[in-house]
């Protein structure tokens, strides 16, 4: 981070953040009043039924979208620093598929396991999947940045095929579908609160942001600057794995959030990770909420999963990023 860029970057980031907050508030307000059952402001005041629906279903759903989006965007940003590559995110490097494998394993071995045990298994498996990917990345030449996302996609496909095989043979395909295809229609009060835990990991990412920036310079430079590289790497991996596991267990994976959002934000706000992180979180929350809103509206009163909506839009943006950012390195 060149010091000269600081004075210009900070106020601009502040303006962006204010704009993003305003947009987010609008989206969240809309989200409270959109759904299969009609709900208007007047009905809300008139009887208890409307308020009950708001508290039981709409508010939890809106919060779940915001939390998931923010956490996944941050996880994507951390992943990009760790892999030193802009074109990776948890669902394209095997983190999500690893979490699903861990969940499958615990479901088969110990069907009565509680949520905590499932979370732990998913996190550990996700950690292993991501660590294996990073080990692979180290063997790739730094001069070929696009090989990294390619290897990640293949690794994710392999883990995904393994999960599909196990799930198919054990009649758990439906679960796998739910884990890997995020949607929010099932979110009601009492079924999403665990997502608040992602806040802890987001805060940790913020505290460690400068270290991730240094780690992003590569092992030799980071060690030379006095960073305990392996420890920072492990902490980053933990954040990515835990956020991924939390998302997969509660609402399911939403592809491309962690990839598209940080890239777009960094195009505007620059590469100061600590300054960009709140913006990335806000933009991620807004993007997922918007995708969910589109999913709720497009075939109203039926719904399209947010992951499907985001898959289409996110992939389109990704292709555009790849094709246009020629010569920008990775």
């Amino acid at each position: 981070m060149p010091p000269a860029s600081l004075p210009t970057a900070e106020p601009r980031a502040g303006r962006h953040a204010a704009l993003a907050l305003a947009g987010l508030a609008l989206l969240a307000g809309a989200s409270l009043f959109v759904g299969a059952a009609p709900l208007s402001a007047s009905a809300l005041l008139a009887d208890g039924e409307g308020a009950r629906m708001l508290m039981l279903s709409r508010l939890p759903r809106t919060l779940a979208c915001l939390l998931t989006g923010a956490a996944m965007a941050i996880a994507g940003l951390v992943m990009q620093m760790l892999a030193r590559n802009r074109f990776v995110e948890p669902s394209t490097v095997g983190s999500a598929q690893g979490a699903a494998l861990g969940l499958l394993a615990v479901t088969l071995v110990w069907p009565a396991a509680g949520l905590a045990a499932k979370m732990l298994a998913a996190s550990l498996a996700s950690l292993a999947g991501t660590a294996a990917f990073l080990a692979m990345v180290r063997r790739l030449p730094v001069t070929q940045p696009l090989l990294v996302p390619l290897a990640g996609l293949a690794w994710g496909a392999i883990l995904g095929a393994a999960a599909t095989f196990i799930a198919w043979e054990t009649d758990l395909m439906q679960f796998l579908e739910i884990w890997l295809n995020g949607e929010f229609s099932g979110v009601v009060q009492g079924r999403y609160e665990i997502l608040w835990l992602t806040g802890i990991f987001a805060a940790a990412a913020y505290l460690l942001a400068d270290r991730f920036t240094i780690a992003g310079l590569g092992r030799d430079a980071a060690v030379g600057l006095g960073l305990r590289y392996e420890r920072v790497l492990l902490l980053g991996l933990l954040i990515v794995a835990a956020v991924t596991a939390l998302t997969v267990v509660t609402v399911g994976m939403i592809p491309f959030v962690g990839l598209v959002v940080p890239n777009l934000v960094r195009m505007g706000a620059g590469d100061n990770i600590r300054a960009a992180l709140p913006l990335v979180a806000l933009a991620g929350a807004g993007a997922v909420l918007a995708a969910d809103l589109v999913g709720r509206l497009v075939i109203h009163p039926f719904e399209v999963p947010a992951a499907t909506v985001f898959g289409v839009i996110g992939a389109g943006v990704f292709v555009w990023l790849i094709v246009t950012r020629r010569g920008h390195g990775a």
Binding site: A151, I158, A161, A162, V304, A315, R326
Partner: protein, 314 residues
């Protein structure tokens, strides 16, 4: 040398076919054999279509990693089917004559493929990685778009699309799909006729042009052929992401030849062996349901990764 390789492969394929036909037959031999022979023909055609389509695509795109399935040809085909059902309704789509529907969908696929991928392949010439990545993500986008459109379809009409999210080989029904088989066979013949020009194509765009090949037209023709072959295979069994990659890589490894007259039949034979022998083993010996497609996917993914890490992308 290469021909001996082909002969060995052909013998292995014949053996797998024989085992597939006769293993575990009980009761009426005539009935069972007729049923199995029909399926066998369809499986062989699928194998040849996928293998040849992949080989052609890799030659014209100048790399060994991309396959038509990875860049989303099959997803595009299913997307076209889904959009048709969405636009005119499942009942109306089902009432369209089989021939007209298949030919129409295939024609749209060919047009879309030429429009999309000719631009991609020419625009990214010389930048193989960028093209590969853009192609893969395009594939992801087509699959998401297909899922999106299928959600929009009335659930009652959804059955009209009738394509699962991954391939199933044991439910193949050749009977009503003879038109797909005819188109596939014709496209295979077309590919065989192009084998020498494909050899020239493999030298790269500049060499091909200086040797007198109309590179642009060749690229279009090749993409149309790939579209026809993909439509055939997808209509018969469903989408197959890494199968083509697996068999063309094996063909390069086993035959060690660069002539398409050897590579295309070799890849087709290997694809046939993998499908027929694999199906026999999985269905009869292991008693596993419909998972050959998933195992092929797993192995293909490993090959993909090995190619990347081993710098096979040139």
């Amino acid at each position: 040398m290469a021909h001996r390789g082909l002969a060995i492969l052909a013998a292995a394929l014949a053996l797998s076919c024989l085992v597939y036909l006769v293993i575990g037959v009980r009761g009426n031999w005539g009935f069972v054999l007729a049923l199995r022979a029909e399926r066998l023909a369809a499986l062989l055609l699928v194998a040849a279509s996928v293998a040849v389509a992949t080989q052609i695509f890799q030659t014209v795109s100048g790399n060994r990693i991309l396959t038509p399935a990875i860049v989303g040809f099959d997803a595009l085909y299913i997307l076209i089917q889904s959009v048709l059902v969405l636009a005119i309704g499942g009942l109306a789509a089902a009432q369209l004559p089989e021939i007209g529907r298949f030919l129409g969908e295939t024609a749209i696929l060919a047009l879309a493929a030429v429009a999309l991928f000719a631009a991609l392949l020419r625009g990214a010439a010389g930048d193989v990685q960028r093209m590969v990545l853009a192609g893969i993500v395009l594939g992801v986008m087509f699959r998401s778009l297909t899922a999106f459109v299928q959600r929009l379809i009335d659930p009652n009409e959804f059955a009209a699309v009738q394509i699962a999210s991954f391939a199933r080989f044991n439910r193949i029904e050749a009977g009503p799909l003879w038109i797909a088989m005819a188109v596939g066979a014709a496209a295979l013949a077309g590919a065989w006729a192009m084998r020498h020009r494909l050899d020239v194509m493999a030298l790269g765009r500049d060499h091909a042009i200086s040797l007198g090949l109309d590179h642009r037209r060749m690229l279009m023709t090749a993409l149309v052929l790939v579209a026809l072959l993909t439509a055939t295979a997808t209509a018969l069994v469903g989408p197959l992401a890494f199968f083509g990659l697996l068999v063309t890589s094996l063909a390069h490894l086993v035959l060690r030849d660069h002539r398409h007259a050897v590579l295309m039949p070799g890849a087709a034979l290997i694809a046939g062996i993998v499908l027929i022998a694999g199906q026999t083993v999985f269905e009869r010996a292991l008693g596993l349901a419909a998972t050959l497609g998933v195992v092929v996917e797993f192995l293909g993914g490993l090959v993909f990764l090995a190619l990347l890490l081993g710098r096979g992308w040139r």
